[in-house]
């Protein structure tokens, strides 16, 4: 009885996933019935809502790539360094108090982060970079990075903390300094967990919606310049679903095509993360 209920709820989530893929696939196929996939992947303009329609998804992916890159450039070093500190240097008391505080960062609603980027970070950055537009990729990217720090620091720290003390002691016995043990023993031993946390962070950044919809500018353009307004795939989906684009039109289906491509990207990332975890897992004892 209990087993059956547990099995059913496990099955439910599988079916929901399959259902989502099914809907995405169905709408995407009918989209590609009208727009050639080559246009979709190679056209450099994205204007499905206007009278001269172009369906090139590249500008949207350029926006997603740009904000993700900036976010990871912020989150990776900070997250990793705090993980190393918490796991290898801090006392247990510091660790148990600081870690929950770091994790609070992940609990802030993303809409709050969005307005934080638009109304605080952007004006602040404009003091140093006068040419920065009011909407840009830089500020939401940085804020997104701040949001992702706890994902990386927390998971990496867990992985590093799980490295057996014996390994570290072996390192010390050979005359290594604390830094050498942290970087050359603990970190490599925990590599699978650390790498998985990176990829999870990237997935999170690719899928992040609210921050970029609010602060990045809703302006699809093919550029890697972080100082000008851009639009990400997710922000486009929000823009269309909040407007009044009628159901069943080609404009409406663009969001499924965009969502499908996004799904493919995060799916591939998850597979990489999974295989990394399996491949580099160091089993002790």
């Amino acid at each position: 009885m209990v087993e059956g209920a547990l099995f059913l709820s496990a099955l439910l989530s599988v079916f929901i996933t399959l259902g989502i893929i099914g809907v995405l696939l169905f709408e995407t196929l009918s989209f590609f019935g009208e727009v050639s996939i080559i246009d979709f992947l190679t056209d450099t303009q994205w204007t499905p809502l206007f009278s001269e329609k172009h369906f090139g998804v590249l500008p949207l992916f350029a926006g997603t790539f740009l904000t993700t890159f900036i976010a990871m450039a912020v989150a990776l070093p900070i997250g990793l360094i705090s993980a190393i500190y918490l796991s290898e240097y801090s006392s247990d008391r510091v660790r148990t108090t600081v870690k929950p505080f770091l994790e609070i960062l992940a609990a802030v609603p993303t809409v709050v982060y969005g307005y934080f980027a638009l109304l605080f970070v952007t004006p602040l950055l404009q003091k140093f970079i006068p040419d920065l537009s009011g909407f840009n990729a830089l500020s939401p990217g940085i804020v997104m990075g701040i949001m992702i720090i706890p994902i990386i620091s927390s998971l990496s720290e867990d992985a590093m903390h799980a490295v057996p003390t014996g390994l570290r002691e072996g390192g010390y016995a050979l005359g290594s300094t604390r830094l050498q043990v942290a970087l050359r023993v603990a970190l490599p031993a925990a590599f699978s967990g650390v790498a998985a946390s990176f990829i999870l962070g990237i997935s999170r950044a690719v899928g992040e919606t609210m921050i970029v919809a609010i602060a990045a500018g809703l302006q699809p353009r093919l550029t890697l310049n972080p100082f000008v307004p851009i639009e990400t795939v997710t922000a486009y989906i929000v823009q269309v679903s909040m407007g009044d684009t009628p159901y069943g039109t080609i404009e409406y289906r663009t969001i499924f095509a965009a969502g499908m491509s996004l799904f493919v990207v995060t799916f591939v990332l998850n597979i990489i993360s999974y295989s990394l975890r399996k491949r580099f897992r160091e089993v002790y004892e």
Binding site: L49, F50, L118, T122, F135, Q219, Q239, G243, P246
Partner: protein, 330 residues
């Protein structure tokens, strides 16, 4: 325990009776007309506590979609109803009375620190906004050579708004034709924020939103290079709009009342109130009111339930107040 349940029941009774008493008027549509309707709705609800008026912002196009599906009583519109929408309404047997309520000027704005733009011609605006400009017109010095060699960032209402429709028709010459790489938002406050925080921005929206953000934006005079309606660059000020010299960017805005809803007493009261106070209130929130005659004619049309649009489903650029009155009087 017992007193609790009794109190609970009383509460339920109270709530449900209040529920039954209050009648709801549903308005949706243009964000440009929204401030006027909202102001009218507020005053109206003060005088008629039993009636609740909800005013949504879906853009003119989005508003008509709901209106023609019979979901709303009144639709705010910043352009006349389009042929495709007329057909949609026809399919669902929705008839409507068209009432002009004010004049609006489309304001073209830049950042207040922008010291190079003194005026723009319609041709220059077209060069910036037409579809061919996408990916090509990227810098200010492509508009005029002595302007800075910096990227131009464009802001405008979303493709679902009547303001966008009107602007493209008036400037580009074809409705819904513009470049796609500009920041588009149905929320005019987002556009204000964008232009106010970006030195190289340029954008357009209804002049009323400019009135509320005067210190954060700089208004650009527009020259249509036709001497017949005012020589040189013109600002969207009251007199210029009324005299018809701020062309082609001034236009009448409307409400559409569903013929079916028009028979309800609360709708009659609301429209009556709107026609009698809409002029003063529209001025208060930053629009240009019509002459009193226009509101009388409008109320008259409503009372006689004159259905249909005087514009025949086509958008028209440069309809003056006199012209509007004449069409309405028919």
């Amino acid at each position: 325990m017992k007193t609790f349940s009794i109190m609970g029941m009383m509460l339920i009774l109270l709530v449900s009776s209040a529920w039954a008493k209050s009648t709801l008027i549903k308005v949706d549509g243009s964000s440009t007309v929204f401030p006027i309707t909202e102001a009218v709705a507020e005053e109206f609800q003060k005088k008629n506590p039993g009636v609740k008026v909800t005013v949504g912002i879906s853009g003119t196009g989005g508003g008509f979609k709901k209106f023609c599906a019979g979901e709303t009583d009144i639709s705010d519109a910043s352009r006349p109803i389009k042929l495709s929408e007329v057909e949609q309404c026809l399919d669902n047997k929705i008839q409507y009375v068209e009432l002009p309520i004010a004049y609006d000027g489309l304001a073209v704005m830049v950042n207040p620190k922008n010291d190079w733009v003194d005026h723009l011609t319609v041709k220059e605006l077209k060069k910036m906004w037409e579809p061919a400009a996408q990916g090509k017109i990227k810098k200010w010095n492509q508009i005029r050579p002595n302007w800075p060699d910096k990227e131009i960032h464009l802001f405008g209402p979303g493709a679902d708004s009547g303001t966008y429709d009107y602007f493209t028709e008036a400037i580009v010459g074809k409705e819904h034709a513009s470049r796609g790489d500009f920041t588009a938002s149905e929320d005019d406050n987002v556009l204000v924020q964008g232009i106010a925080s970006d030195l190289y921005a340029l954008g357009f929206f209804g002049v009323a939103y400019y009135e509320h953000n005067k210190d954060r934006l700089k208004l650009v005079p527009v020259d249509d290079e036709k001497d017949s309606n005012g020589k040189g660059p013109v600002l969207p000020e009251y007199e210029n709009v009324v005299k018809g010299t701020y062309q082609p960017l001034a236009r009448p805005i409307f409400i559409y009342v569903s013929r079916k809803s028009a028979d309800k007493p609360e709708i009659q009261a609301f429209v009556d109130f709107y026609m009698k106070n809409g002029g003063a209130l529209s001025k208060e929130v930053g629009y240009i009111s019509l002459p009193d005659k226009a509101y009388e004619l409008g109320l008259n049309r409503f009372q006689k339930r004159v259905a249909g649009s005087v514009f025949g489903g086509k958008s028209q650029v440069g309809v003056g107040i006199e012209d509007l009155l004449q069409r309405e009087g028919k």
